[in-house]
């Protein structure tokens, strides 16, 4: 069990090195990477924005309920901004990304394997790692911080909608306290997390797809593994990064 897990981690690490080795060549032909940013990013926009809005609204409700017990409801903007920037934005976006874009990547690559498309490339002396995997990996890594930024903005709008419009928190206090309390380090924490999550989710998605057994059941299981492994990994990395940032 432990041996198999270590073997798997080793296989993912070797695969990562091979993919990273192909990334410069993939970046030299940016059209494919841009296309994958569109696939992973733009096509996830609606679900990201919708969930960002609801998460922000819940944050507004819960934050207001908590803060008014201490008479500090003016700090709702700060609470919402820090919650979204540092935690909820990156984590929820990464979980949604794993469920939407990650599964799409895994099933697409798995089906390409099952229908001999990857083998055909190898037979044309074209390395699939360079032409299929590296652009998709880079597309995911680049799309994630952009999605997180959009999630944060829409989330703040949702929190403002509830706090200011519904609960009558003073709009001046909402925005000015946020501006005063949120520092660049808080934003950086969110950016670092989103990059790490994008890296992990994209790697797992392309790895599982590339190594999926070429059967319907194989592709299905690989897709499931993408969601499960990515989700656990995101939460694990989140804990480690949070501890690292707080320990500075």
């Amino acid at each position: 069990m432990i041996g198999a897990s270590l073997g798997r981690i080793g296989a993912v690490a070797v695969f990562l090195l091979r993919v990273l080795g192909q990334c410069p060549a993939a970046l030299a032909k940016p059209r494919a990477v841009i296309h994958q940013i569109y696939n992973a990013g733009a096509r996830s926009l609606i679900i990201i924005m919708l969930c960002g809005l609801f998460v922000g609204m819940v944050l507004g409700l819960q934050g207001f309920d908590l803060l008014q017990r201490f008479g500090s409801e003016d700090a709702l903007g700060v609470a919402a901004a820090l919650g979204l920037l540092k935690e909820l934005g990156p984590v929820v976006t990464a979980l949604l990304f794993a469920g939407r874009a990650g599964t799409a990547l895994t099933s697409e690559i798995g089906l390409m394997r099952a229908t001999d498309q990857l083998t055909a490339m190898e037979m044309m002396a074209v390395d699939p790692l360079r032409h299929v995997i590296a652009p998709r990996f880079l597309g995911g890594v680049i799309a994630m911080p952009l999605l997180v930024a959009i999630f944060d903005i829409v989330g703040l709008f949702g929190a403002q909608l509830i706090g200011v419009q519904l609960m009558a928190v003073d709009p001046g206090a909402f925005w000015s306290q946020m501006q005063a309390a949120v520092e660049l380090d808080d934003v950086n924490e969110g950016i670092v997390k989103s990059l790490c999550f994008g890296f992990a989710c994209s790697l797992i998605a392309v790895y599982e797809g590339y190594h999926a057994p070429p059967t319907a059941q194989g592709v299905g299981l690989a897709t499931t593994r993408t969601v499960v492994v990515s989700s656990v990994l995101v939460l694990l990395i989140d804990y480690m990064l949070t501890a690292a940032f707080l320990g500075r």
């Binding site: 229908t115 001999d116 037979m123 044309m124």
Partner: protein, 273 residues
Amino acid sequence: MSAPPVCIRDLYYAVGTRPIFAGVDIDVAQGQITAVMGPSGTGKTTLLRLLTGQVLADRGRIELFGESVAEVDKAGLYALRRRTGMLFQNGALLTDLTVFENVAFPVRAHARLPESVLRRLVLSKLEAVGLRGAAELMPSQLSGGMARRVALARAIVMDPDLLIYDEPFVGLDPISMGVIVRLIRELNETLGVTSIVVSHDVEELASIAHYSYLLSEGRIVAAGTPDELARSEEPVVRQFMSGAADGPVPFHFPAGDLAADILRRAEPRRRRS
């Protein structure tokens, strides 16, 4: 004298404990169409995978253009593959690219041609397979026969020295089959390309092949021109050429006694209930 395109000597290969090849020798002559025939499950496609270095043999030597596929590095293997075009059973077209882009794909990957030159090259290859008019279609809009012709255009776009066809006639209607037969013959004659056709369609192969090998149970059981195979008195050759259901290649997969098998399999169900 240049090395023969393909030379296989004393090939042994097993999947797990099941032997697939046990001492296979094959020579493919320059400029000829060589057919590799055999019943389903004899490892014809596996032979192509071994030949193109997708899997490695347990023993023996496989040479492509005089170089051992097991001994070259990845760059060397890719260099050999650039001289080889392969037509897959299902076409294996890239489903997110148009017909034009599918054919242009290997050229874009290996050469930097001006777009006008690339367009002329791709359209001429599509014209050769009769599908210039389908250049802007997606693979999902093509019939099985059309997809295979597009895959053939893609296989010849880099002007290979060797063309490998994996079951090119499977699942085609008689017209499409006739088109593919004609294309294999014409490409062989006009481009002077060496061809290996792996199939079990005896009649079609007899009409185009210069030389044929018959594989059965891991060995070459017969080799010769189509006429020589047709006249062969070997029981396994006779069975294959005539399409008899039973003979040296048995109808039944090896199994024990039927009654014992039924009773043995019924046992666990009874216990569960």
